[in-house]
């Protein structure tokens, strides 16, 4: 008798696991860079290629580092959120234009609006590789010591801006 109930029992245990599994987020691979210093670089700025930008200049500030490109469709979904955030001046946003043509990127910012304090031009994508970028857009929260505290994979939405990013920025700003 027992052996005929066994398949049902096995299935129910499995269903329990699947239920728990639904609440998990397998795509959220924790970045190995979390709580590590942001990799250093020096890149030309998008609008003034003669000038360089390096994250070392940002010591003492909490900032968002947003990886984007003019060819990236999801970045266009994210763009209004960034514009809104920039307007509210809650946290400075710096961009990394990843594997992109400067002219295309500049044209896009001219038409859609520019939420960035400054954009670093990563034409060959080497800096992106150091930051472990595997999909665009990605956004890093970097604290006053230059340590990466959070990495958002995929576009920032109003929800996760309110729920995760802004509270974390606020908390980091309280710290020395």
């Amino acid at each position: 008798m027992m052996r005929f109930i066994l398949p049902l029992v096995v299935f129910l245990v499995l269903a329990g696991f699947l239920y728990v599994g639904l609440g998990l987020h397998p795509h959220e691979v924790p970045s190995p860079l979390i709580d590590k210093p942001a990799p250093a670089f020096s890149l030309p700025q998008l609008d003034q290629p003669a000038k360089q930008f390096s994250p070392a200049e940002m010591k003492g500030k909490v900032w968002l580092f947003n990886v984007w490109a003019s060819w990236c469709e999801s970045c266009k979904d994210e763009h209004p959120v960034l514009l809104d955030l920039a307007e509210r001046k809650l946290v400075p946003i710096y961009g990394l234009d990843y594997k992109d043509k400067p002219a295309d990127a500049q044209a896009w910012l001219n038409t859609a609006g520019n939420p960035y304090k400054l954009v670093a031009q990563d034409t060959d994508g080497r800096v992106g590789i150091n930051y472990g970028v595997y999909g665009v857009p990605e956004t890093y929260i970097i604290d006053k010591q230059g340590i990466i505290r959070y990495k958002q994979i995929g576009p920032i939405t109003m929800q996760n801006l309110r729920a995760i990013i802004l509270p974390m920025v606020h908390k980091l700003e309280q710290q020395p």
């Binding site: 005929f4 398949p7 299935f11 696991f17 795509h27 924790p30």
Partner: protein
């Protein structure tokens, strides 16, 4: 307007599916012929309305109606028309519609080809299929409406995922789904038998052809998917043990076990409850595959948009369908008596081993696929299980499996004699060992795995040929054997061809990933490849670069290859189109990686020499052809003819029965 008609057709279809799911089953329990008689016409109506919805979505795609969200997300006005049609199953909502549509196609097929079966059986089968359809229609209408509007309409669509813009991809999902959905028929027969309490050999006889058809489609569907991955992903691999691939492979393993176990149940009356469990299992794994793919609980290269609400719905549906059928099994199966007895050495035990090995294989694929989920759920962190696990587990299971495949067909039912069998196969086995030991030296490299693969393939081929020869010589010609016998041998032969393909491509392939400037050459597998640079390329909805590679053997050019790198306009997604010079004994495969900046036109180029790789898919096609041959067996054609003859008598019987039902119904209270 048209999308609203489609949406409305889905609602009507849901109502009809409810009627189809409830009345005939209730009628069968009550012995009410009128209620049972509802099954066929309602099933046809149900099909008509789902087909209407299907046509409406196809119309919206073909006419570029970007006010429909699904069309705006999965199509584009620049997309060629055949891909616009294929976009029908390029996304989540559309593929559910395809699933449901195919389910109704199968149901109508059951109504047409089951006229010789008892009415209760047919009523229950159609009822169960109706209930499954209720689940899918509800899922669509509640969480994934394909006809949702996008207002204001988009100017243009986001385009079909470029990975799916490929002829192979146009037919891969329908084939795969025909297989998945086809197992629902075997499942419905099994449940019908459980509900009716007649778990004898007859239900096995009726569900055998249906199971074989589903298996043929699934086999071809998986082969197409694998072939697509081979030339479309640009890595030259043909199987990645990706969760989505596994989701189709598990039902295939269970279905293969089911085909063999059904044979035993039909012929010998043995394994009765086990066969029912397998029929439930094969379909459950198909549903589970849909869940895994659609709910996003697993990471996969097949990145589908996911929504937790959908996950909850499919899980609830799984629990209802699988949970209730296993409960029914636990309740009814203990009453089933034991079947015909058999000795330890007999065809039954060989088939039992086959079933055990296939089930363990399916279970280990299942475990490997879900292991990351289990670990994550238990809080042990995130990890992934890759090909090393699957290869380590799978090969040891398949070796005894293939060895027994050579013996099974020559063993007698009930009691076989080992010394007898040994006398019959010893030359085949000896010759296989010799070939397996020596052939690798001729081919250039000897490794234990190559020898093992060749041993299995030679053993299988020689035992198939030996048995064919014996039966033809001793039992009087080619005509005496049934087509299902030839079908079986052809499918087994296909397995041997498959093994040869896998063994030789794994053993002797050459893969070169090189940086090539125009004029550079690289050697692989006795050929020299010269890269002649790239030129610009422009397609209907993409731009790109096309490289030219000249292939030379002994200094003489033997062919040219044109690998492409495309950037699709709407999505900006880069795609690699490998260029393949295919042949019976080897493929020459070239794909472009990335351009190397500031190098004067140099590219990263992948050059592969793949010996016997096409034998992998040829083996699958032979297996499927074996299935088709078995289906054309005389006994199924006899049924078809009998159906014509008994049609009139059955008709009168139904008529009388319904008349009787009417009288009971209108009896004064």
């Amino acid at each position: 307007m048209i999308p609203e008609i489609g949406h409305f057709a889905l609602i009507v279809a849901l109502m009809l599916a409810l009627i189809q799911g409830v009345l005939p089953i209730y009628g069968a329990a009550r012995g009410n012929a009128v209620l049972m008689g509802v099954a066929r016409p309602v099933a046809v109506g149900h099909f008509v309305f789902v087909a209407m919805a299907f046509a409406c979505l196809a119309y919206a795609l073909l006419t570029n109606d970007f006010s429909v969200l699904y069309v705006a997300e999965h199509s584009n006005s620049q997309l060629p028309a055949h891909y616009r049609f294929a976009a029908l199953w390029g996304g989540h909502e559309g593929s559910l519609l395809l699933w449901t549509f195919l389910l109704t196609v199968w149901t109508v097929a059951v109504t047409q080809f089951s006229r010789h079966l008892p009415q209760e059986m047919v009523a229950r089968v159609i009822g169960v299929l109706g209930l499954i359809s209720v689940g899918f229609l509800l899922f669509m209408l509640l969480t994934s409406d394909p006809f949702e509007r996008l207002l204001p309409a988009a100017m243009n669509g986001r385009d079909l995922n470029p990975l799916l813009q490929d002829p192979g991809m146009v037919i891969h999902p329908p084939m795969l789904y025909m297989g998945y959905v086809g197992f629902s028929v075997a499942f419905a027969f099994a449940l019908s038998a459980l509900l009716g309490g007649h778990l004898d050999a007859t239900w096995a006889r009726w569900s055998r052809p249906w199971t074989t058809v589903a298996w043929v489609f699934l086999t071809l569907g998986i082969a197409l998917g694998s072939g697509w991955a081979y030339y479309e992903l640009g890595w030259g691999g043909w199987w990645f043990w990706d969760p989505v691939e596994n989701a189709s492979f598990m039902p295939w393993l269970a279905g293969t076990a089911l085909i063999h176990s059904l044979a035993v149940t039909e012929k010998r009356g043995a394994f009765k409850s086990w066969t029912v469990l397998l029929a439930i299992g094969a379909f459950s794994l198909s549903l589970m595959g849909t869940f895994l793919v659609r709910s996003g609980v697993l990471t996969s290269v097949h990145a589908f948009a996911t929504d937790p609400r959908r996950g909850i719905f499919i899980l609830a549906f799984l629990v209802v369908v699988i949970g209730s059928s296993l409960t029914l099994f636990a309740w009814r199966a203990p009453k089933v008596g034991l079947g015909g007895k058999f000795e330890l050495v007999s065809r039954e035990s060989f088939l039992l081993c086959n079933n055990v090995l296939l089930s363990v294989a399916a279970a280990s694929v299942f475990l490997g696929t879900l292991y990351p989920l289990f670990m994550d759920a238990l809080g042990y962190g995130k990890l992934s299980v890759g090909p090393p696990y699957f290869n380590t587990v799978f090969v040891p299971l398949m070796v005894p499996m293939v060895l027994l495949m050579g013996l099974g067909p020559i063993a007698r039912w009930k009691k076989a004699n080992i010394p007898d069998m040994w006398v019959r196969v010893r030359w085949a086995f000896g010759a296989s060992v010799v070939i397996a030991l020596l052939l690798p030296f001729v081919l250039g490299k000897w490794t234990p795995l190559i020898a093992l693969g060749l041993l299995l393939a030679c053993w299988l081929i020689s035992s198939v040929l030996l048995d064919l020869r014996k039966r033809m010589l001793r039992e009087g010609g080619i005509k005496t054997q049934s087509r299902s016998y030839y079908g079986m041998q052809l499918a087994h032969f296909g397995v041997a061809i498959f093994i040869i393909g896998v063994t030789l491509v794994k053993g002797y392939e050459t893969e070169r990933d090189v940086r090539m400037a125009p004029g550079d050459t690289v050697a692989a597998g006795g050929y020299t490849f010269r890269f002649d640079g790239v030129r610009a390329l422009s397609g209907p909805n993409y731009e790109g670069k096309q490289g030219r590679v000249v292939v030379m053997k002994n200094g003489q050019p033997v062919g040219q290859l044109f690998p492409q790198k495309r950037i699709y306009d709407a999505s900006g997604m880069p795609m690699t189109e490998a260029s393949i010079d295919a042949g019976l004994f080897r493929d020459l495969y070239v794909s472009l990686g990335d351009a190397i900046p500031n190098s004067g036109g140099a590219w990263a180029v992948r050059v592969y020499y793949k010996p016997f790789v096409n034998w992998i898919w040829a083996g699958c096609v032979l297996m499927a052809m074996g299935g088709v041959l078995a289906l054309s067996d005389r006994r199924y054609r006899i049924h078809a003819r009998k159906k014509q003859e008994t049609h009139s008598t059955e008709h009168t019987a139904t008529h009388e029965a319904s008349a009787a039902g009417m009288t009971t119904g209108s009896k004064p209270a």
